[in-house]
């Protein structure tokens, strides 16, 4: 009996609606948003650290997004130390972005402003040493050079 005209019309309609959705969601922001220049440009070592951050799935438990209502009031250790609201320029050039969806651990948008290189290294090797009671696993099994790259990346998050 073939494909009935109603279904054909519906299919075309659905695809047009989908195109409108894609246009509104993807194309328009793509055209209109100028994220500006990157706040920080990463060195090859820092970029390597970032790819380790992606590979190990750090971003499942740590967000990199401070929202307006919690900006400068949210708390990691001291009241308000979550830092300022993140803006489009903070994400310029990132592939992919690590907004994240859950915080089993604290937001890391500004972790570089809170903690030193030494602290980050210790924390990655043995989270309990710096954060007793933390539920973060140790990353001491990673080769030393990967830990250093990861630390180099983390301290750029300011």
């Amino acid at each position: 009996m073939g494909i009935p005209p109603e279904l054909r019309r519906l299919a075309i309609g659905s695809f047009l609606f989908l195109l409108v959705g894609i246009g509104g969601t993807i194309a328009l922001p793509y055209i209109t948003d100028n994220p500006g220049a990157a706040a920080t440009t990463l060195s090859p070592e820092e970029l390597r650290g970032r790819s380790i951050y992606k590979r190990e799935g750090c971003w499942y438990c740590h967000t990199q997004q401070v929202r307006k209502p919690e900006a400068n009031t949210g708390t990691v250790r001291l009241p308000g130390d979550i830092g300022p609201e993140t803006i489009p320029a903070d994400y310029a050039g990132q592939r992919p972005t690590f907004w994240g969806t859950e915080r089993q651990g604290p937001d890391l948008s500004h972790t570089g402003s809170r903690q030193s290189v030494v602290w980050q290294r210790e924390h990655l090797r043995d989270p309990q040493s710096t954060s007793p009671g933390s539920i973060m696993p140790s990353f001491g099994h990673l080769p030393a050079d990967e830990i250093e790259a990861l630390v180099a990346y983390l301290v750029t998050l300011k």
């Binding site: 009996m1 509104g24 969601t25 990132q94 933390s134």
Partner: protein, 492 residues
């Protein structure tokens, strides 16, 4: 309102030829099924789905333990320590669950249901077998490569490039099979489920391709746009694929399991709305404000198809609530629909900026995603399995008592699991709002994470009861009698 058949009407092929009043006000053609009505490709889609479910639940237990006692990961031998840890295994749990278990059950359901509603054969069995093989290969490749560290680093889109291409091809092949079956149908009227399957399978190809940026091996866009497209993808993966197809499955099973005609086909057709942005998943974000507000408006509009589903469900169930006691597939379906409506209420609430600013990023979100995937989609998949597998073999469901245990164990453990996650979420949100140090909240919630571990483990172990029921049903003795298969598996 419902279109009632004229008295004395039978559903033989001769009467089906007469012009129907309207394409949109018909009841589905009654099942005139032979004794054993099998469809091997569809059946193997179900077997594959159940296999991936088992991997998913085993990983679920493991991840739950890792989250409660992270130190246990250090006890893993050095050779496997790199691969077996929370960050590497979490995407395997999710991918096997959504693209293996639920998606393959959906594809199997589409391949089985579509030709039967259209009174014809599947367009191509060979294409269906090919789809099955490529799909399994893609999931197998995914569950091997993700622990090895090949994640693309985007949630629900971690799958490496090659397997992205394979899954896109699978969705496209599925769409071709469904549209091809429609083109060769002998049934004049097209039932709502077929409309939903046809649109869902084809629109999902675009959603998956765009969301995973399949023309780029890295799979990610750049900067803010990467995040915006990510949420478009996540949302429409649910909207266009999981939910649209689920509506088709619900509208197929409901009249069959209740014995009532679908209350209103016209109302059921309202399921086709709201494919739009997913920006409501990240409110107060750096994305443009107009985009967030548009997405909130569209979230509220989701009331329309979901209220239609609720009304059609309630009205079709009239006079049949008592049968829930005996009718296991209907009980799975009904519980799934009630949970689904709960998901919608919760989802719309979460899309308001006030509530979102409070609850977003907490464990509440994980409760919500398990509500959708376990209590809604998996319940529908259990309804499909307990209804279709016996029909495929022409005999009642085996190990009926174990199947009952599976229902109640799953129902109670998922309920406990979700409530503890929502409670943890509210406690976290409260602590964050009160400027309690982050680590203090983590320590305070430790006992609740243990409850979560217990409930999650119970939920995962319950699925082995399901595996047992399926194996017993599949390997049981063939029914030698000429009696038609009972529509509803009965006790005994």
């Amino acid at each position: 309102m419902g279109w009632a058949p004229p008295p004395g009407r039978n559903h033989s092929m001769t009467t089906i030829q007469r012009p129907s009043p309207s394409l949109l006000t018909t009841r589905p053609p009654a099942p005139s099924l032979p004794r054993a009505d099998d469809s091997p490709p569809a059946r193997w889609f179900f077997y594959s789905a159940i296999g991936w479910l088992m991997l998913n639940v085993v990983l679920g237990i493991l991840l739950s333990i890792f989250l409660y006692t992270p130190a246990i990961q250090d006890a893993i031998p050095d050779t496997l320590r790199t691969q077996l840890n929370f960050g590497r295994l979490r995407p395997v749990h999710v991918s096997a669950g959504i693209f293996g278990w639920v998606s393959m059950a959906w594809a199997g359901a589409m391949l089985y249901i579509t030709p039967r509603l259209l009174r014809t054969h599947l367009y191509s069995d060979r294409l269906a077998w090919l789809t099955l093989a490529v799909w399994n290969a893609a999931i197998l490749g995914t569950v091997i490569t993700l622990p090895l560290g090949y994640s693309q680093g985007r949630e629900y889109a971690e799958i490496p490039w090659l397997f992205d291409l394979m899954l896109t091809a699978c969705l496209a092949m599925l769409a071709v099979n469904i549209w091809g079956t429609i083109a060769r149908r002998t049934e004049r009227r097209i039932y709502v489920s077929v409309w939903l399957f046809a649109i869902s399978s084809s629109v999902s190809v675009v959603v998956y391709a765009v969301g995973n940026k399949i023309w780029d091996p890295s799979g990610s866009y750049t900067g803010l746009n990467d995040a915006i497209i990510q949420y478009f993808y996540i949302h429409n993966l649910f909207n266009a694929w999981f939910t649209t197809a689920a509506f088709g499955i619900v509208y197929y099973l409901l009249p069959r399991l209740t014995g009532n005609p679908l209350f209103s086909h016209r109302l059921a057709m309202w399921g086709f709305t709201s494919v739009w942005t997913g920006q409501h998943h990240a409110l107060w974000s750096p994305a443009p404000e107009w985009l967030e507000l548009t997405s909130v408006a569209f979230s509220i509009l989701a009331i329309i198809p979901n209220a239609a589903l609720a009304y059609v469900f309630m009205m079709t169930m009239r006079g049949r609530w008592g049968t829930l006691r005996e009718n296991l597939p209907l009980r799975w379906l009904s519980a799934g629909i009630v949970f689904y409506l709960f998901t919608c209420v919760q989802g719309i609430a979460q899309s308001f900026r006030t509530f979102s600013s409070y609850i977003h990023f907490t464990n509440w979100t994980i409760g919500h995603s398990h509500l959708a995937f376990v209590a809604d989609y998996s319940f529908f998949a259990f309804a499909l399995a307990t209804y279709l597998l016996p029909r495929m073999f022409g005999r009642p469901l085996s190990a009926r008592r174990v199947a009952e245990w599976h229902f109640w164990a799953t129902f109670l453990s998922i309920t406990a699991f979700m409530y503890v996650l929502w409670f943890i979420g509210i406690r976290q949100a409260d602590g964050w709002a009160d400027q309690v140090p982050f680590l203090q909240i983590v320590r305070d919630l430790k006992p609740l994470f243990f409850v979560r571990l217990l409930a999650g483990t119970a939920l995962a172990l319950s699925q082995f009861l399901f595996l047992y029921v399926v194996i017993r049903t599949v390997t049981g003795p063939r029914d030698q009698s000429e009696q038609p298969a009972p529509a509803i598996a009965t006790v005994g």
